[in-house]
Amino acid sequence: MSGTTDISWMIGGPQGTGVDSSATLFARAMTVAGYWVYGKREYHSNIKGKHSYFQVRVKDVPVHSNTDPVHILSTFEHSTAEIHADEVVPDGAFIYDPRVTDPADLPLPSGVTKFPIEFGKIIEEIAEETGSNPVKLGIMKNTVAVAASAALLGVEIDSIEEALKGIFTGKKAKLVDLNMKAAEKAYAAIKPQAGFGDFVYKLEKPSNPPKSKSRLLVNGATATGLGKVKAGCRYQTYYSITPAVDECIYLEQHPEFGIVVFQCEDELSAINMAIGAATTGIRSSTSTSGPGFCLMSEGIGWAGINEVPMVVFNYQRGGPSTGLPTRNEQGELLFAIHAGHGDYPKIVMAPGDMHECFEDAFNAFNFAERYQTPVIVLPDKALANNTQSIEPFEEASLKVDRGQIEGVDPNYKEGDLEAGIQQFPRFKITDSGISPRVLPGTPGKIFWTTGDEHTEFGHITEKPEIRIPMHEKRMKKLDLAAKEIPQDLQYKLFGSEQADLTMVAWGSTKGAILDAMDVLKKEHNITINFLQIRMMSPFPSEGVGAILKKAKKVACIESNLSGQLAQLVRMRTSFEIPHQILKYTGRPISETEIVASALDVVKKDEKKVVLTYGR
C-alpha cells in the first residue's frame, strides 16, 4: 500500500474544552508538513458543555471543501464517540480514551481499527515530571489527540513542533515544550499498537511541498477583516451576534490597524452610527447576521436615499428568527437585495471563498464610494468559520477608488466668509446618476441630507417634477455599476463551455462544487461546468442568461429551502432552472453530497434533491 493523498480527520468534544485549538494545531501541523487543508467547524449556541466538532480534510493538492466520511475520529471524551462513530470509514481509525469509552458500545463499522490512548495517564505523567497541577494540564489532551493522529498518518513530529511554535508565541512560547512532551508521549503510545503499521490511510509525502511560510491558514472572518483593513476602513460598528462577531473581534484584537471598532447598544445604532461616520467621508462599515440585518434595513434605506457610501457585511446563518444561530444557511439573498422599503440602488455581492472574502471586502468600499450607495456583502457561516490553507492574498494590483470628491472651490478666499458660504448641490441631477460629493470640513461649502425626498441641495420636497428625476438618478447608478464592474467580479464560469451539467451556485458551496467537478470527471466521466454568481445586485442578467440558455442541463445548488438564487435568476433572466439541489439542515454542503446529487440529476433526471448529511 503506497498510502493516500486525501483524508478526513475529526475531533470533537464539549464546547469550551479546546476543540477549536486542537483543530488549529492539526491543520497547522498538516500545512507545515506540506499538505493543503480545509476545516469545518460545527458548534451549538452554547458556551460550555454542548457538543461541538471540527473536521479537517488533508490533501496533497489545494482543497476547498469537506468530504462526508471520516478516516480518523480522535477524541478523549464519550459524546463525540457516540455521535460520530458511524461516520468513520470501514477501514478507518478510532483514537479514544479507554477510561471513558468502551468501543464495543459504539456503532463503529466493523473494520475500524481502535487505538486506545491513556490520555489521563499521559497528563498525570507530565504533571509529575514538571511539578505542575494535572488539572491545569488537562487541556493538553487535545495535543495528545492531534499528535496521535499525526503519528498514525505518518507525519513527522517536527511538523507538530513547528505548528506549536506558530501558535504559542511571545509570552506563551514556554508552552511549546510542555505540549511537545504531550506530543512525544502520544507518538510513543500509538506507534507500538497493533494495527499501526497496517493503517491504510497513511499520507503519501506531499508531491509539491511549499516553501515555509508561503501559505495562509485562514477563515472567512479573518480574510474579510484583512480586506477591510487593506481598504482603509477606519470605523466599524457592531452589536454582538454569531457568526459576524468573529470578524469584529479580530479587528478589535489588532489595535495597530487603527480601526475604531465600536460595540453598540443594538443594531439600530450599529447601522446608523456607521452611516453617520460615513457621511464625514471616512470608510465605514458594520457586520451583522440575519436578525441584526433585519433591524438595520431602515438605516440602509436612509443611506440609499442620501447616497452615503457605506458597507454592511451580513454573515448569513440559519433562519427564520433566531433559527439555527450557529449553523450555515444562504437564506438571506432575496431579503438582502430587497432590504428596506421603497426603491433605491444597492450593490449586493456574495463571496465564495477566502480570496473572495478579502477581495470583496476591499472592493466593497471602492464600489460604495464610486457609486455612492450602500454595499451589502453576504458571506455565510460556513465561510466565516471554516478554515482553509490558501495562497497569499493578491495585494499588488489593488487600487483605492474614492469616486468623485470635490475639494475647495478655486474662488474661495480664506477670510472672506461673508461671501464664502456656498450651498453645494450634493444631489445634482447628472446623466450618469453620480453627483460629486464634498466632505464636511471643506471650507466654504455646506449641504443638507434628509430621509425625505429632496432637492439637489438636500432640502425636503414633495414636488413630482423633482421626485421623478431624483428617484431615477439614484437608480441609474446601478446601470453604471453593472457596466463598469469587471465581469469576473459579477460571475464566473468554471470548466468547459459545454458540459453534461451546469451547476449554478453562490457563496460557500463554491468549494464543494469545484472539488466535486474533478471527482465526477475522473470517477464517473461526467463533465460539469460551474457558474458562480457573485454579484446579486446589479444582477448580471445578460451574461448569466446567455450561459444558461446554451447549457445542456442546469441545476441550482443552494443552502436554503426555497431556492432563492433560482428565484432571482428567473426574475432577472426569465430562465427557469429545472433542477434544484438544496440543503437546509444548517450544515454545509460537502463534496460527497455534490457528487451524489449531480449523479442523481444527470443519471436519474431528479428535479429536486434535498441533502441531509451531517450532525
Binding site: R28, A163, K213, L216, V218, T222, L226, V229, A231, G232, Y235, H254, P255, E256, G258, I259, V260, C264, E265, L268, S269, A270, I271, N272, M273, I275, G276, A277, A278, T279, T280, G281, I282, R283, S284, G299, W302, F393, E395, L398, K399, V400, R402, G415, L417, I421, Q423, P440, G441, T442, P443, G444, I446, W448, T449, T450, G451, D452, H459, I460
Partner: protein, 326 residues
Amino acid sequence: MAVKTLESPLKAAKYKSDLTSDWCPGCGDFGIVNGIQQALAELALPPWETYLFSGVGCSGKTPHYIQVYGSHTLHGRVLPYSLGAKMANPHLTVLAVGGDGDGYGIGSGHFVHAGRRNVDMTYIVFNNEVYGLTKGQASPTLEKGMQPKSLALPHISQAINPLALALACGYTFIARSYAYDPKHLKATIQAAVNHRGMALIDVLQPCPTYNDIHTKEFYAEKLEKEGNEIPRVYYIEETGYDGVVKNSNDVQEVNEKRMNAFNAMYKLEDQVALGTFYKIELDTYDELLGKNLPQLKDAAPIDLKYHDDQMNPTTDLSSALAEIQV
C-alpha cells in the same frame, strides 16, 4: 480634539438658511432655532465644520433652517448618526436636535447609551410632551393624569424624568432651558457646546397646536407663595444651587453634587427650574480612544491615510499576515 473657530465671527443672520419654516404659528421651535443660530454665531463656528443632526418629527426639520451642515436622519436615530460623525471626525462641532418622542421614546435606547460614552457633542431635546407631527399623541414626558386637547382620554402612564435619566446614564452636562427665554437658551447652548463631553439640554417647548396645558401663557404665569408673587419659571442657580463639579477626582464632591442634582431634578413644585443641574469634566471618548489605538494618539480617525497619490493602498498587512502564515 480642538475645534477651529472663525477669526471674524459671522452674524447670526448668516446661520439662517434661505428656507422658510413650516411650523405652526406660535410654535416654540422658532425660539429654539433662533437660540441655536445665535449661539453658533457667538461661538464663531465655521458653518462647514459644524454639523447639525436631527431626528424625525416637527423638530426634525430644524437643520433645514440653519446654514451649517445639516442632516435630517431617521426617527429616533439622531444620536447614532451624530455619535458616528463625531467619532469619525472630531474636528467637527456636532449638535443633535430632536423631539421628546424621538429622543426619550423611540430613541430611548440610544439616549441611555450615549450617556455612557462621553462623546464631545451637544444634544438639544425639544420637549413639548406630545407627538406634534402625528397630531398630538402623548409623548414619554407627558405626566400621568394630564389630558391635552389632542388626547381622547386622560393619560395613565407615568412620565419619565429626562434630566434624572441623563444623570443615571452618565451625561456630563445636564441642563434645562425654555424656548421663549432667548438669553438663557443661547447661553445654555453655548455652554453645552463649550463643554468637553456629552451635553443634554432639555428645552421646554410649547406646542400651541396640541398641548393646551403647558402653553406660553402657563410658563409666563405668576404664582403666589406665602403672600408673595413669584414667577412660574426661575433659574436654579439664583437659588444658590451649584451643580458644577470642580474636581472630578474628589469622590465626596462628586457624590454630593450628584445627590443634589437628583433632588433638584425630582423636586415636586409648581415652579419650573431652568439651569445647569449637573456638569463634570471627564475624559472624552476620543481621548480614551487615543489611549487604546496607537495611531489615534495624536490624530483623528478621519486623518489617517490609507492610500498614496496614485491611489495604491498603503496599509501594510505583513504583521497580521505573519500570524496566519504557515
